[in-house]
Each structure stands twice: as C-alpha cells, then as structure tokens.
C-alpha cells in the first residue's frame, strides 16, 4: 500500500519533469521557397555584390555580401552550397590587393587597392588600416563561384573576354579581382557564372556605368549615343542604348535554362553620402581666418573676379566672401564660360605684367563659386583649404594657391549641376531598361534606387529603427549608419538592410516565405583607438 503510493508519486514526478515546452508551430514551420528554386543560386554584379566596403573587399567584409546573407536564408528552404572567391590569404583582414608583392599603382604613384578604411579615434578621421595587404592577385584560383560579383565591373564587362586576364592586370587592361578567380584568361564573368548552372540568380549591375563618372566629379565623358565601349574611358557614362542591349544579353543568358531571379536598379548619386556629406559652402568666416583675411581675399581676388564676371553678364558667378555666413568654395567648372582672356585683359589694364596676368587668367578662367546644386565629393574634405600642388610659382607667391579658397577646386572634386543632370539622365535610362527587361522576363525587381532614395529623408524599417543616408559622424549614432567609410558602399549593417529588401521582393514575387535579418545586430563602422 505504502510503496504503491510512493511509486505513483515518483512516476508522476518524472513524467512531468520530462515535459518540455513545445510550440504549436516551430520557428521554421512556414518557411518556403514558393515558386523559386534555390538549389543553385548565382549572383552576378559589381562591388555591391562582392561584399565590398570601406573601399575594398576583405575576408570579413565578404562574409557580409548580400548574396552570402541571402544564401543563408535560401539554405532554410532547399538552397544549396554558396561559394565565394577565396579570401583566405587575407589573414589579418586588411583587404587591399597586391600584384607580385607590390602595390598596384597603374603609374599614378598611388596605391589603387589600399587596405580597408577604419576610423582612427586618436585622429578622428578615416584612414587605411595600418599594414600591408596579403592578398596576392597572381595566386590565381581558376574557379567559378556562386558569388560572381566583380568590383569595378560595368555592365558590358560581364561579357568581355579577357576581363580577368592575369597577364594584363599590371597595365590596367583587366580587372584584378576577376583575374584572381577567372577560370581562364579568356573567360567572361557571365560565362563563369553559367558554369554553376543557376536555378536562381541576382543581377545588380550597372552602377559603375554611371557611378565612375559621378565619383570622379564628372571627369569622364557622357558617351550617350556612342555604342562602342572600346572607345570609352574608365570614367565615362555608358551609352544607355548600348547598356540596354548588354543587359538583355545578360538576362537572356541567365534565364536560358529557366532560372528565376531578382534584378536590382541603379541607385541615384543623391542618396549616397559620398556626394551628400561635404557641403558646397564649408568656408565659415572662422575657417577663413577671420574678417581681416576675408577683406584681403575680397580685395585681391573675389572683388576683381566678381567685377569681370559681372561686366560680362554673370553677376552671381562669384560674389565677395561674407564675414557673417558660410561661404561656398571656389571650383573649376568645365562647362563654365571661359573668361581667361577677359581676366587677363582686365589685369593688364591695371598694370599687371602680361605673363603674370596670363597665369592668373588661366587659373581662374573657368572658376566660379559652388552652389547648392553642386555635389562636392567626400574625398574633397581632405583637399579644401590645402595648398594646390599644381598652382604656379607666381600664384603661390601671391597666396592664390589654396584649394577652394584662393584657387579653384579641380573638376574631379565636384559634380556640378550640369554633370549631375547627365548622371541623372543615364541612371533613369538604365533603370527604365532594367525594369522593362525584367518585366518582359517575369523577373522580380528590387528597386534599390527607390529604396536608397528613401534614406535621404529617413527609412524606418520593420525593426523600428530609422536609417538615413548619412556618413558616420561619431560613436553615439554609429548604430544608424548604413554606409561604410568609402561613402559609396554599404557597411555590413547596410548589406543586411539591402538583403532584407531583396528577401521582401522574393517573398512577394515568388510567393516564398523567407525570414529577414535584424540589422541592429550587424556591425557598422570599425573604430580603432589608434592606427
């Protein structure tokens, strides 16, 4: 009797102790690929697809590439293995590239593939992280990967043979990133991608077709109407008609075996901190050194320039510097009316010797003050107010050699209103082509242009966080920054937001149900105490 009761009690105890809480539906119960087949996912594109950030691809940054993030979600619903170019040799996660043990300079005297950018807290500014890159381009992998994002690639580069020819990297005729893994010297990016037999793809190409022009401050040529890419310079705008043809070829190739996919549009430059961080008018009276300096500059330079331009019908091309409010920088505008002769003549009338007058005329002939419609590029912040290396000795002697203050900022530092219009026209034309080609092939469109434009006024995502297109400005709001220190490419958090937007498009278009990422848990800016 006694024993029986105790047995019952003990049994009851163990019975309940093994009762673990169970959900009616486990977390993944409703995840589905829908109409999509993620068995072999291939991503083609440029730096935005490669996981590029802080002006490079590093071993860690690549892990945050949007295709890699996407593939981890695909794996929940039948997605297969997703491979990326090997960055195992980036032992210390410095990024950058080396060729034959030396930096790649293309004769500029400047490393074109430096280490990744970090914030040096002791200096309070972005710097390339100390150290030498250990990524050696000539260690070729000769492998096709699921992530075929190639930094620097323009639309037509995906179809260009020898774009990854290791033999001509040194002279700038091929792309060092693609050269690292092209399956042969003659291989094309798209050809290598197709060897993975994609069942699903993302294609985010086209940004460099216009962005290279924009980031160079409009240093290239708008090639609209010229369908021959062999005649293009690296900073030129690709002809939109040619772009559309190339884009069709890419899509037709990718879909040839019935693959489904997502294409992404090209973002506008006005939604990128590279163009929106440095104001057109950073010259406060204090920055100019006070009223005495301002009076001197007005008497010697701004006043006379204003007089010449006003005489010839442009009263607001240059105005005297203000002693009370912020002043615009002085820029060189290639599209301005050339007043070299008028300035030279005016100076000579005042008794300035002819050779000196000619030098001054040449330096300021296409000068004007920047306006709110001009976009000053991010690297200009380190140039404004510094002496110009190209200013002649005469100008240096006169003190007329300070960038943006007493010497016009070169074309490459400013995307003028006129150049902006060309960029905007090309962007619109590309995006129209992308959307119409996608819709003809019943592909999903991730309108990154529209999404990134929302960042300008603030994009509140599903987590409750408001994100903007602002550049990093300090640790206290680092968590709201989506762009990396290069000002063009997202940081890891930004790629998470982008991945979410693509997932939403896939869920909508292909009736899939894939979970999202929570961007608040992703890193943003790498801040080091010292460098």
């Amino acid at each position: 009797m006694k024993n029986k009761y105790i047995y019952i009690a003990v049994l009851a105890a163990f019975g309940f102790a093994s009762c673990e809480p169970e959900f009616e539906n486990e977390v993944n119960a409703d995840y589905t690929a829908g109409e999509a087949d993620f068995t072999s996912y291939v991503a083609v594109g440029n730096s935005l697809t490669a996981g590029y950030m802080d002006r490079t691809v590093s071993r860690v940054s690549q892990q945050y590439s949007f295709p890699n993030l996407l593939a981890q979600k695909f794996a929940l619903v039948g997605g297969g293995e997703f491979t990326q170019p090997s960055f195992a040799d980036d032992v210390n996660n410095l990024g950058g590239l080396m060729l034959g043990g030396a930096p790649i300079e293309y004769g500029t005297g400047e490393n074109q593939y430096p280490t990744r950018l970090i914030i040096d807290a002791s200096e309070g500014r972005p710097e390339n992280i100390a150290g030498t890159s250990t990524i050696e381009v000539s260690n070729v992998q000769r492998t096709a990967y699921n992530n075929m994002g190639v930094p620097g690639a323009k639309s037509f580069h995906l179809l260009t043979p020898n774009y990854g020819d290791i033999g001509v990297v040194a002279i700038g005729l091929s792309n060092p990133y693609f050269a690292r893994h092209a399956t042969s010297n003659a291989a094309t990016v798209l050809g290598d991608a197709m060897t993975k037999n994609p069942t699903f793809f993302t294609n985010w190409i086209g940004a460099n077709d216009v962005l290279a022009y924009a980031t160079s401050g409009g240093s290239g040529v708008d090639q609209t109407g010229n369908p021959n890419p062999l005649s293009y310079g690296s900073n030129d705008i690709t002809d939109p008609t040619y772009f559309a043809g190339v884009y069709s070829t890419i899509i037709n190739t990718l879909t040839a075996n019935g693959a489904k996919g997502v294409v992404a549009t090209v973002p506008s430059v006005t939604s990128i901190p590279y163009f929106t961080t440095v104001p057109y008018n950073p010259l406060s009276p204090a920055a100019l050194g006070g009223q005495a300096n301002i009076d001197a500059l007005n008497a010697a330079l701004y006043g006379p320039l204003d007089a010449v331009f006003t005489t010839f019908g442009e009263p607001n091309r240059v105005n005297p510097l203000s002693g009370t409010s912020a002043n615009p920088i002085l820029i060189w505008d290639v599209d301005a009316i050339d007043r070299t002769a008028e300035i030279t003549g005016g100076l000579m009338l005042q008794g300035v010797p002819a050779p000196v007058a000619a030098e001054i005329g040449a330096a300021f002939g296409k000068a004007r003050q920047a306006t709110a419609n001009d976009l000053v590029v991010l690297p200009a912040s380190g140039v404004i107010g510094t002496p110009n290396a190209n200013a002649s000795a005469t100008l240096v002697a006169l003190g007329a050699n300070i960038n943006g203050v007493s010497y016009p900022m070169a074309n490459r530092w400013v995307l003028t209103a006129n150049e902006r219009a060309k960029v905007a026209a090309a962007t619109t034309a590309y995006n129209n082509a992308i959307i119409s080609i996608a819709s003809a092939n019943n592909l999903a469109v991730a309108d990154m242009n529209a999404i990134l434009n929302q960042l300008v006024s603030g994009l509140r995502i599903e987590t409750g966080q408001l994100y903007t297109a602002n550049y990093f400005s300090g640790p206290s709001n680092e968590g709201a920054v989506l762009f990396s220190l290069d000002g063009v490419h997202p940081n890891a958090r930004g790629y998470a937001v982008i991945t979410n937007e693509i997932i939403k498009v896939i869920n909508r278009h292909y009736k899939s149900n894939l979970p999202l990422y929570h961007p608040s848990y992703f890193p943003g800016i790498n801040i080091l105490p010292t460098n």
Partner: protein, 419 residues
Amino acid sequence: MRKLLSLTLLALAGSTAFAGGYRVSIQGQKQLAMGHTGVAVVNSAEVAFFNPAGMAYLDNKFNVSVGGNALFAETRFQNSQYNWTASTSNLGTPFSVYATYRITDWLTAGLAVYTPYGSSVEWDQNWQGAHLVNNIDLQAIFVQPTVSVRLGEHFSIGGGPIYARGSVNFNRNITPNPLLSDNGDPADVTLDATGISAWGYNLGMMFNPSEKVRLGLNYRSEIIMEARNGDATFSDVPAIAQGTFSNTRFNADLPLPAEVTTGLSVQVSEKLLLAFDYNYTLWSVYDALVVDFENSVPTSVNARNYKNASTYRLGAQYVATDKFTFRAGWYFDESPVQDGYFAPETPRNDSMGFTGGLTYQVNKKLGIDFSFLYLHFDEVNNSYDHYSDPTAGTGDILPFGGTYKSSVFSPGIGITYGF
C-alpha cells in the same frame, strides 16, 4: 534535528524561480499540494506564512514544518520573422521552515523562514535578447517571528515583522550593436548586490463561524529591496568606450510587492476539506527598474509598468487512512506583465497551476510530505517595446519580441513534526 535543519538551509539557500512576475508561490508542502491555498486552512505550522492568525488553532502545542522543492523552469523563445530560437532552463530551490509553540491557551509564538521571491533566468550568453538580459539571479529570504492571539472561541489575529535579506546578480549586453564588441564578444555589464536587507510585516485574522468553516484575511506588506553601492562590472568593453564604461558602483530599488489574501475553507466531511483563496498582489509598485551608476555611465531606466494581479486558488485535502492524506489543487495565476512590457528577464504570462501531494504519517509525531506542481503556460506572442539602442542616436524604440512558451514543474518534499 537541529543539524538536519541547518544542513537543509545551507543546501537550499539558493531560492529561485517563476510565477507571476518574480513571486514564487511555494511556501509549504501541504499547502502547495492544495493549490497553494491556506489563508483559511489550519493544517500545520505552514499557516505562519499563509495566515499567522491561524497558528492559534493548531492542535499540537509544538509544530515544525520543513520543506523544499526542486523547481524546473524552462522557457523557449522563437521569432519566425528573423528565424531566432533561444531557451532557458533553470533549477530553483525554494524552501521553507516553520515552527510554532503554544505558550498559553490564547497566545502562540512562531518563526517562519521562507523564500517568496526569486528569479533565475539564464539565456545563452549573447543571445538575440542579450541587450535586455543574459542572466538574472534574484534571491530573497524572509525571516518572520510571529505571534498569534486567540480572541475568544471564533476569532484570532496574528502577525509579525519580516526581516528580508536578498541579493541580485544581473548581466546584460550594453547594446545589440556589435560596435561595442571586442573580437566579437559584446560589451556587457554585470550588476551584483548582496546583503541587501529590508523590513516588512505580515498580518492576518481568522474567523471560525462554525466548526466546519473558517474565513481568513492576510496582508503581507510591500518590501523595497534597496541595493546600495552594488558592483557594476563592465566586460569586453572595446578601447574606444572604456572611458565611459568603467567599473563602478550602482544603486537600484527592487520592490517586493504587498499581497492581500482572503479565502475560506470548509470541512465537507470528516475526511474532506475544501479551500479557496484569492490573492491580490500590488505589483503596480514596479513601475521601472532604474539603475543609477556612480560614475558617468548614463542612468539606465527600464520601464516595467506592472499591473496589480489576482490569483484564484482551489484546494482539497482527503484523509484516506491514519497513514495517508492526499491533496490536490488548481489555481489560475494572472501575470502582472502587460503587453509591450514582456521582458525576457521574467518571461511569464498567465499560468494555470495543477498541484497534488500526500502525507505519509510515520507515527503520531512525524509525517513526510510530498508535493508536486505543474504550471501550464499558454504559448504567447509578446514583446518588450521600451528599449532604445544607445548607439543608434535617434532614440528609436527597438522592440524585442517573439513567441514564448514556458513550463514549470516542481516536486517537493518536507517533514512535519509536532506533539
């Protein structure tokens, strides 16, 4: 006997657990088995907790009840929007020691030692909700010297001061943002305060209109545990933030709320006793957890906004033989946590308790009590909507939520001794 008692105390000193908020309703084997009713039940020395007035009616001159439980609490969390899963599984050991001694016909003295509050939750370090809590261990022991005075045949009163002593250990990450991370190990803070003491009181009255019916009313006062000069220890803070987040001391108040209980018991037959209790806990005192740091670390204000909550309890006791008494009970425990304030440090929604137990009477003086408790929680979708990331500048609220499912099981054992 004394040796056994002290050993038991040592072994069980870690009280912990579950239930509405951080209240742990396990204050006696016999009464727990009856759905934790007891404000109008005179069974054993356990009444010193449930209603001190009832001590006066105990049959024996001297009564001791000692008991403890093993409390297995498990909570699972998931969020299908982000494919998150997490779980916490904890063992708590609430215990109680009661003794009463009838000095005269009208006066009974007693001592009660029990652990009515506690919380132990340990999520995986750096889980998705780590910015709210990684782990918490809250303990409180109440020591209550008690007297009961019988005022005539039908009525008694009782009460005594409560000396509460407690400790808290709490760890969480400073932000979900990996910016504050050293090699992927996020910066976190541990708050530790021990030896916190405070005073309160427990008062009750009991009315027996007939031999078969008892009515009870009990009030246990609020006690504010004031942690002063506790240790705040920051770990894994990266170099850039070490100026701000340096080890310091902190002050914080944690209220242990007042509880009013009323109820009745009916001796239906010689063998069967039925009891009903109604608890009303004044949780609204827990408005926010405010942690004030001595140095320049910003004061941490964590909204809680608890609401007063009710618990409804039913219990039955059946004396089967001289040797065996069986008990069973049921209760409904309303959670004080309101929607949008569902923090993973006390992931408790409304629950239903099922209890049972028995006493094996070894001899006239000594009985062994067994109890078990199973707490059923419905699956709940809820979130904590009052956190903003200090590194995200905008002050935007970052809700944290998902689906929670808890279960609690607790077997207990005790002895009753009296003569």
